[in-house]
């Protein structure tokens, strides 16, 4: 445990001292603010039209039957943030193993008391801590909307559970991509490719049979993430994200054994 603690401390110092991490954090905070205020502006416009219509100022078919903060602001913001995280998290994860490999320090690490499993766990834990920090900073505005919009605690918990699980899945995908290359760029691009592909596989439905389409839908992140954002917590969705993490971290651990055999 001493060795594991030492690695966690070192990873914290390295990650929280890396400029790219703060660049990613700033990007996410800015994008979140932009999306949020854009939707809020739209909401205010709709609200104005709605109020005017109900007071007889307007008589138009374009006025919605009802309007609320949840449907107009919060849900679309959370949806877009799910995608934004896919763009940002690989910027954090790309360096995790690739940097060690390009420096040659991975072999130095392995001559200490650290085991490959401990290295994977420590690096994942610290990376995920940063992702959570990033999300906490970025979700200040949605939290304000929730506060104002009177969203229930249960619904709010479901939304945040979805975010936490989505973050775990993305961090794991990024980590496994970083474990197989010494190029941070390759690690980031491959993580983006896999995560964007997994986000919504339904585009392939028209090319495959009904059975395969069902499998593709089951493998897609988007419906499961949206389910949490809609306030529904399902064990199957929790297992799905946990499964992604388990598979990715196991493959990342396996990369150590593979390198002992291949020498690469």
């Amino acid at each position: 445990m001493t060795a594991l603690r030492a690695l966690v401390r070192k990873e914290l110092a390295s990650l929280f001292g890396a400029p790219t991490a703060y660049l990613a954090l700033t990007m996410l905070a800015l994008v979140t603010a932009l999306i949020f205020f854009d939707h809020l502006r739209l909401y205010n416009q709709i609200l104005f039209i709605y109020a005017s219509a109900t007071m007889g100022g307007f008589a138009t078919d374009s006025v919605p039957d009802y309007v609320n903060l949840w449907d107009s602001v919060f849900f679309p913001v959370m949806e877009t943030l799910g995608l934004t995280l896919i763009g940002v998290v690989p910027l954090i994860t790309m360096r995790v193993f690739a940097e060690e490999r390009s420096r040659g320090t991975d072999e130095l690490l392995l001559t200490t008391h650290l085991t490959p499993t401990q290295i994977v766990i420590a690096k994942f834990g610290v990376t995920y801590l940063f992702v959570v920090t990033m999300m906490a900073v970025s979700f200040l505005y949605p939290v304000m909307a929730i506060e104002q919009g009177g969203l229930g605690l249960e619904h709010l918990s479901a939304v945040y559970l979805g975010l936490v699980l989505h973050g775990i899945g993305l961090a794991s995908i990024g980590l496994v991509c970083s474990a197989f290359t010494s190029s941070q760029l390759v690690a980031a691009i491959s993580a983006w490719a896999i995560a964007f592909l997994l986000w919504d596989l339904s585009w392939a439905n028209s090319f495959v049979g009904e059975g395969v389409a069902g499998v593709l839908e089951a493998l897609s992140i988007q419906p499961r993430y949206s389910s949490f954002a809609g306030g529904i917590v399902s064990l199957a969705n929790v297992v799905y994200f946990a499964g992604i993490a388990l598979v990715c971290l196991s493959v990342a651990r396996f990369s150590f054994d593979l390198r002992r055999v291949s020498g690469g």
């Binding site: 001493t2 690695l7 401390r9 110092a13 320090t105 072999e107 392995l110 002992r260 020498g263």
Partner: protein
């Protein structure tokens, strides 16, 4: 890779009382079609400073990676203190300090922070860790740069840092890969003086392509050529030979 796991070693268990620290028997390692180590048999005795000489591509680093357990052998056996690095890498790591080529460090960490990290990763804690860090800072004359970032140090100082981390837990075996590669003559002299000071205190496996360095630092020398051990003996007898350089040339030609 077929047979990659076959040559994992005898693994007769630790043997602190015995004289042999590293023993390789018909050790081979293949990368695809290329045979990097070809049936290498070698014994390194306790307390020896053994220099493994060879041109680039002769197989020196491959041998080191097999000793540290970073690679699995294709065939043959290898033990460190009677333990197979392929089967029980953690037990081997507890016995060795490893100095990689220059710059294979964490440039974003400060010297003291890096040494504390490496000490912690080697299982040292609390007062023991603080003492070990203070001891290597003094031993390798790193006190003036202890608060500086590793990445901002000269290559000579970086190599000292690299040496210092390997001695944090006073390992019985120290492996040093190309310790003076890329250093200027003054820095080379300083690093060689440090390594000379370690002679007899630990078993030292030194990989180099520098004949003079081997002559200065080693008590025994082996020459690798195209993955084969082509000569072994005392530095004075082996490196004083007229054909010492010819052994290198043969290795360099084979590696092309």
């Amino acid at each position: 890779m077929s047979g990659a796991l076959s040559g994992t070693g005898v693994d007769s268990g630790p043997g602190p009382g015995r004289g042999v620290v590293i023993e390789a028997r018909a050790l081979s390692r293949r990368f695809g079609e290329r045979l990097a180590l070809d049936a290498l048999s070698l014994r390194i005795e306790r307390g020896q400073s053994f220099a493994l000489l060879g041109a680039n591509g002769a197989g020196k680093t491959t041998f080191i990676r097999l000793v540290t357990g970073a690679l699995l052998p294709s065939s043959g056996s290898l033990t460190v203190d009677g333990i197979s690095p392929a089967l029980r890498p953690a037990q081997v790591h507890a016995r060795l300090g490893f100095v990689m080529e220059t710059s294979r460090l964490y440039p974003e960490l400060r010297v003291k922070g890096f040494l504390r990290f490496m000490g912690g990763a080697r299982g040292l804690t609390g007062a023991t860790l603080a003492q070990a860090v203070a001891a290597v800072l003094a031993r390798f004359a790193l006190e003036p740069v202890a608060a500086r970032l590793v990445g901002n140090l000269s290559k000579g100082y970086q190599q000292r840092v690299s040496l210092a981390q390997a001695f944090l837990n006073d390992p019985p075996l120290v492996i040093v890969d190309e310790p003076t590669g890329g250093l200027d003559p003054v820095q080379r002299g300083e690093v060689q003086a440090l390594l000379l000071g370690l002679r007899g205190k630990s078993t030292l496996l030194l990989c180099t392509h520098d004949l003079e360095e081997a002559r200065t630092l080693a008590t025994r020398v082996g020459v690798l050529s195209a993955g084969r051990l082509v000569a072994e003996g005392e530095p004075s007898e082996l490196l004083g030979r007229d054909d010492a350089l010819a052994l290198f040339r043969a290795g360099a030609e084979s590696a092309k």
